[in-house]
Amino acid sequence: MKFGIFYEISVPRPWDPGVEKRVFDNCLEQVALADELGFDSVWAVEHHFLEEYSHCSAPELFLTACAMRTKKMRVGHGIVVCVPEFNHPIKIAERTATLDILSGGRLEVGTGRSATWNELGGFRANPDETKRTWDEFVRCLPKMWTQERFGYQGRSWSMPVRTILPKPIQKPHPPMWVAVTSPGTEIDAAERGLGSLGLTFGSVKEQETKVQNYRRIIANCEPVGEVVNNQVSTVNFLFCHEDTEKGNKLGRRMLGTFNFLAAQLLAAREAYPTKSYPSLGLLPSLRKEASGPADPAGVPEGIAIGDPERVLRACKRWESVGVDRINFLLNALETIPQEEVLNSLRTFAKHVMPHFQDSSSQAAAAGGGR
């Protein structure tokens, strides 16, 4: 099991001068500490127009700053939107290769297609087309990274033969993932040999079924890249505090705030009837979470909130169903004071990480037992 941290970069109103800078600075301070403590990776979303929920519209810049402040952590796009109205594929290949070089070969490339009308409508992208454009992009990217010259005539985009520069330093190319939000996308990931980057907060039981499907299908995949990235990652919240009551209380506040923010988004499917988006994105899992079973402290099953013992139990539960990585959201709207977020990372590294094979050596080496 590996542990990463995951950023939406949510910025509370009122948007006074300096508030965005303060939030970005807090995130970067957390990243630097997480690197010291032995966390494996930092991931950043690409979102546009999502008021308060996410001000992370230029993740390649944020991730570059992360790479400059860290030594070992991998830096991950979680995800880059593979829709031509958002990002031209040539620009994606160029930017990601540059980031791979600047980070010393620590880049992970998550791919996806956006799920909100806020974004799809804002860029005037056709929701019916996004799955197809994503599919074209993920098939082209490895070739753009690895072939000296590349030309392409496709459905959503074309280019004459050119040399796309620079090239990533990871060989054959950086690991590729796909965001798994809609049911069945884990199958799309497996069929293409891509890692499954879970971005919703579904139940452990649901995830178990998805992992089983994924492992079965990826065993016989036709990879779009030159390597198969057989990994399942899930996203979770993290607030770990030695005081059980405080851990639960602050953690639940973060959870509730995030749910409210996410609920205000307009899912593509709600606004625009299309078979391209079979689910309401985050909304169904938020509804289930809001009304679903929770422990006596009011924390839903599988959520890494509370004292170290409870957080350990939650992480072990995910491990038991075959999840390889958990990426943690550390805050929402700065509801948790920065010092508490940093303490939560330290507490997790000290009390929880050592119980996991891959992470314990990293945590110890990085002084996570302090």
Partner: protein, 253 residues
């Protein structure tokens, strides 16, 4: 913090045409073969927020739903209803807050108001399906044009692709005289579904309890469907002056 509705409920109620609901216990209506036209437009969010009670949160971007539905059969005979709703969230649940409804049948207007709190008025409401478009028109009883909305370039989709949301109706409860919000949770069984290009030909916000605050500014989508509709029992009611988590009461399973 996340945005909430900022409506002055008492002031809105004083100026709006609201229903008086006759308690929260009503039997279900099963309405066969309904023809449903839905057109969605983005609207000015700062103004829309003022038309939503604190019970709900605006959706970002804010959007309005223009719905015209013909029911060929019902317990009170055939009728056609049009309503304008604002997309919102009750807690984390997607909903449409109904600003006003027009119905072309006095009996249907009365029953819908008394049973589910629909803010109905009687008017001329028409839904017409042509080979290239579906058109909904509403004219008030006084002869004022209130709405003309179209879905152009009809194209078949699956009923499963359509995601209608439940509606919320601000009304007065006859039993205690208090203002309340009733949630109406219909179920739809589709036999046909289409999607098309939305076109709002004309719309008078003031005739829909919206003052000058509903300002459509960008088309989203249009859909047309034929479905059996079950308007079920009232399950939830909310205090219009409290958020959904604190102010919602379950009145039936």
């Amino acid at each position: 913090m996340p945005l909430s509705g900022t409506m002055d409920v008492a002031a809105f109620a004083a100026g709006a045409h609201l229903a008086e609901i006759h308690g929260f216990k009503t039997e279900e209506w099963t309405l066969k073969g309904a023809q449903i036209l839905n057109v969605y437009y983005e609207v000015d969010i700062d103004l829309a927020q003022q038309l939503l009670p604190v019970t709900v949160h605006p959706v970002i971007p804010a959007y309005a739903m223009f719905n015209v539905t013909h029911y060929p059969e019902s317990p009170v005979g055939p009728f056609t209803i049009a309503d304008v709703r604002l997309g919102c969230r009750a807690g984390v649940r997607p909903r449409g807050f109904t600003l006003a409804s027009y119905v072309d049948s006095e009996a249907a207007a009365r029953e819908l108001a008394h049973r589910w709190g629909f803010p109905t008025r009687v008017g001329k409401v028409a839904l017409r399906a042509f080979h290239d478009r579906v058109v909904g028109r509403v004219v008030t009883a006084e002869g004022k044009p209130a709405l003309e909305v179209e879905m152009l370039d009809r194209d078949f989709i699956s009923g499963g692709d359509i995601q209608y949301v439940s509606s919320m109706h601000l009304c007065r409860n006859r039993e205690d005289g208090k203002l309340t919000i009733v949630q109406c949770d219909p179920e739809w069984t589709f036999s046909k579904a289409e999607r098309g290009r939305p076109n709002l030909v004309s719309f008078d916000s003031a005739l829909w309890n919206g003052g000058d605050k509903v300002r459509p500014n960008w088309p989203i989508s249009g859909s047309y469907a034929i479905a059996d509709v079950l308007i079920g029992k009232i399950r939830y009611v909310s205090d219009p002056n409290q958020d959904a988590f604190r102010g919602t009461t379950q009145v039936a399973a």
